[in-house]
């Protein structure tokens, strides 16, 4: 019964969305206040119905209702409860339901919270948001109904994949979706502005908190996915330039560019058309991500639930929304002319370079990801575009970007005094130079690019701290009061920039100075790595709740002194007929010592284990930096709530009704 109610709620939500997609925007055109105001009600009703539908599906998973096909295919009665719940969004249908739920929640949040936005703009925005809802809800109802029944019901579910039972994987998709879908509201704002034909600083100010919230979620989602691959999958890496990773990275890049260009639109009433374009592109790239992951258009290590037919439908949705909005842009945007002039050396110019480089980086990733498809279509030839291409094209674009990033906050609007700024940064330069030399000395002839990159990261750290210290006059009396008085968004900016530098340190360290070794091990075997000595003590069999594990004990010493013991495992899940590798890691800020064991592939290796050791220097700076990025965003967002007339009550994400 409950699944049917869920399905019914979904259908009602579609009706609400249909009403919302027509009435408010028509009201805005005819200046009918009542029609416009109806968007508030329909947006909230639509969200409530979808919350119910999602709850109904989750209920089916929690009670393991095996009359529902989706539960059969994606759950099992023996799964721990957390992963039963997470199974709700583990499948194509369920994740799509989550997708439209988040879409509706963002719409409802705008309806409820953004009470300072002019009614007409709000009505148009919510109508555009409802267009997207209508597209995806009808897609679900027609091709991917999560509430399909199965008869006769099987005794138990099919999916007990132990690899997918992980906390990181359970929360990574929802976060990523909040990011992806959060940009929908920015897209809707942009399309509404195009329809109205007006973009002004006020518009930019209304849009920025939503952009920021979506950007934070996307940042967190990507970082978590990367973290998951690193820790749980035991890939020993955190970024592979895989198509599925690239499609989550592109909206992040575009969203980052948008955050910055919206500042210029807000403060200086210029870059208008560009900001609008970025708002459209960011969400379009999110849609492209949804499409590529689900259609099987490109091959990927992450690909699952591949179905070309659904792909064609999603492609149709994409064509309507992306081409429609871009056509509108081509038609209306040329009329939007921007405000103030600025000198070649100014905050505006700095942000312009920032946008140019980020956009180039984003376009390059897009181009490299799709190039195999282009080539196959034109010549039939199949090639692979892998990490070498992306590293060779992405790094040269980002390094100058980071240099400008250090400089940018020091520049004043309109016209900046470059010699003055450089004089101010003189000592930072000296410190950075010394720091780089120290890095080069420690690295002892490592890759030159890594040393230079590290120097640039240090530059960003130094320049950002110097900028912050100068603004709050850190060394003078009353600094604490000044820190409190400063707008939080300014602190947020410094924090996020610092976060990026820290992230860079981690990325460089873990890719340039990583070392690994593999050897046969039997009790007593000692293997040196990165100054440690790892001794294989032995293996013990341990019975887990639904698996049997071979647990190895490893003694780690450095210069003869005991450091720690590590216990990597090899688990066999008899029911799921799967074997997993559970690595063990000694985590410190200096680096991770990452160990795993496996059965050797070679023959005649009775009693031997394959022992793999990796040392990843500085890798934890990656997660620390990502955290700082999110924190910076949060600081900024909390400021907007208090200081400007944007959403008044609460940060949008936190305030959405919790399911």
């Amino acid at each position: 019964m409950i699944p049917e109610l869920g399905q019914f709620a979904m259908a009602l939500a579609l009706i609400a969305a249909l009403v919302q997609s027509v009435l408010p925007i028509a009201g805005a055109a005819r200046r009918n206040t009542l029609w416009m105001a109806s968007a508030q009600a329909t947006a909230v009703i639509q969200a409530a119905l979808l919350v119910f539908a999602f709850g109904a599906l989750m209920h089916a998973f929690i009670v393991s209702d095996f009359t529902v096909r989706n539960v059969v295919e994606n759950s099992h009665s023996l799964k721990p409860m957390l992963y039963k719940v997470a199974g709700t969004w583990g499948s194509h249908e369920g994740s799509l339901l989550l997708w439209v739920l988040i879409l509706a929640l963002f719409g409802a949040a705008v309806a409820v919270m953004a009470d300072n936005i002019p009614l007409a703009l709000k009505a148009r925005t919510l109508s555009v948001q409802a267009w997207i809802s209508v597209g995806f809800l009808s897609f679900m109802i027609l091709t991917s109904n999560p509430f399909d029944r199965v008869f006769p019901p099987p005794l138990d579910g099919q999916d007990l994949n132990p690899l997918l039972q992980d906390f990181g994987l359970a929360i990574h998709p929802p976060l990523l979706y909040i990011g992806y879908v959060g940009f929908s509201i920015v897209f809707s704002f942009a399309v509404a502005a195009l329809i109205e034909g007006r973009v002004d600083p006020a518009w930019a100010r209304w849009v920025r908190p939503w952009t920021l919230a979506a950007w934070m979620a996307l940042t967190g989602g990507i970082a978590l996915g990367s973290w998951w691959a690193y820790y749980e999958l035991g890939w020993g890496g955190w970024w592979f330039w895989d198509p599925v990773e690239n499609v989550s990275f592109m909206p992040w890049l575009a969203g980052t560019a948008l955050l910055h260009s919206a500042i210029v639109t807000e403060k200086r009433d210029t870059f208008k058309a560009w900001t609008i374009l970025l708002a459209i592109l960011t969400f379009s790239l999110s849609l492209l991500g949804t499409f590529i992951v689900r259609s099987g258009l490109l091959t990927s290590v992450h690909a699952f639930a591949v179905d070309p037919e659904r792909g064609v439908y999603i492609l149709g949705l994409l064509a309507v929304s992306i081409l429609g909005s871009l056509a509108l842009f081509a038609w209306r945007a040329p009329a939007m002319e921007g405000g103030g002039l600025f000198a070649p050396i100014s905050r505006e110019a700095g942000l312009l370079i920032n946008n140019l480089l980020i956009a180039t980086a984003c376009a390059t990733v897009l181009f490299g990801t799709l190039y195999p498809l282009f080539l196959e279509a034109v010549t039939g030839e199949k090639i692979s575009v892998g990490p070498p291409f992306f590293n060779a094209s992405f790094i040269p674009i980002t390094l100058p970007l980071v240099i400008v990033m250090g400089l940018g906050p020091h520049l004043s609007w309109k016209r900046a005094d470059l010699p003055g700024v450089l004089a101010r940064l003189k000592w930072v330069g000296v410190v950075v130079l010394l720091g780089t030399l120290v890095v080069a000395w420690i690295a002892d002839g490592g890759p030159l690019l890594a040393v230079i990159s590290m120097g640039i990261a240090l530059w960003l750290i130094g320049a950002t701290i110097q900028d912050w210290a100068r603004r709050v006059k850190l060394l003078q009396k009353g600094a604490w009061a000044r820190i409190n008085r400063q707008p939080r968004s300014a602190h947020g900016m410094s924090m996020a920039h610092l976060g990026l530098a820290v992230l860079m340190v981690g990325a460089i360290g873990a890719s340039a100075w990583k070392t690994d070794t593999v050897s046969f091990a039997e009790p007593g075997t000692a293997v040196p790595i990165a100054g440690f000595e790892v001794t294989f003590v032995g293996v013990e069999q341990v019975q887990g709740p639904n698996y049997v594990a071979q647990v190895a004990t490893l003694d780690v010493t450095r210069d003869g002194e005991f450091v720690t013991q590590l216990f990597p495992e090899r688990r066999v899940y008899p029911v799921a007929q799967a074997t997993t590798t559970e690595s063990d890691i000694r985590q410190t800020l200096a680096g991770d010592l990452y160990v795993s064991i496996a059965e050797p592939a070679a023959e005649n290796t009775e009693g031997l284990w394959t022992l793999r050791l990796i040392y990843e220097p500085l890798v934890n700076f990656l997660w620390l930096g990502s955290l700082m990025l999110v924190l910076g965003g949060a600081l900024s967002l909390s400021d907007r709530r208090l200081r400007v007339g944007a959403p008044r009550r609460a940060a949008p994400v936190n305030a959405t009704p919790a399911e």
């Binding site: 374009l277 258009l297 091959t299 842009f329």
Partner: protein, 181 residues
């Protein structure tokens, strides 16, 4: 000129959309790998027969001047091979085709038992115990079937089992190869 600039994103999106539509249509398998050997002479290799099976071994010379030949890569541990085996046997009998086998990474006992059970349509079988010959042939998995011309040129590579729709597609390639002879 300025309008052109503003229309550029639309045009680019249209192009990407067009390619994506192409990518989704018509049975395209993004994970299939085209063979580098098509229209190339067959690789140099020489394999001993399977121990205990009295079918002779297989080498490069055995595939030249003997008419159109199918080279079937198979293994006893491979399930789909079992499915395609009767079909390939029937095809070779009915169409009077020469078929030879490449026994990929198998043990002699298992391979012999497998052939005993399912029948042996192969005129020659090379035992590729190490999988090296398979790599020379650009094999990515078993089963795979190659169509070789009379003068030892690789005309077609068919990855996966020759069953169902695969059988139809394989027959098409085979007919084309026959016509070209």
């Amino acid at each position: 000129m300025k309008r052109l600039l503003f229309a550029a994103p639309f045009v680019l999106a249209l192009i990407i959309g067009g390619f994506s539509l192409w990518g989704l249509s018509g049975g395209r398998d993004p994970s299939s790998i085209p063979s580098a050997l098509i229209s190339q002479p067959i690789p140099d290799f020489a394999l001993d027969p399977i121990e205990g099976v009295d079918t002779p071994g297989l080498s490069t010379e055995d595939l030249k001047g003997q008419g159109l030949t199918l080279v079937n890569v198979f293994a006893s541990w491979c399930g789909p091979c079992r499915a395609e085996h009767p079909i390939l046997t029937r095809m070779s009998e009915q169409q009077n085709l020469r078929i030879v086998g490449l026994n990929y990474k198998d043990t002699p006992e298992n391979a012999a038992a497998w052939l005993e059970e399912l029948g042996n349509p192969y005129e020659r079988i090379g035992a590729d115990v190490t999988g090296r010959a398979g790599i020379d042939w650009g094999v990515t998995g078993v089963p795979e079937t190659f169509i070789i011309s009379n003068d030892g040129i690789v005309l077609h590579r068919f990855p996966g089992p020759v069953v169902g729709d695969g059988q139809r597609r394989f027959q098409e390639a085979l007919d084309a190869a026959k016509a070209a002879q």
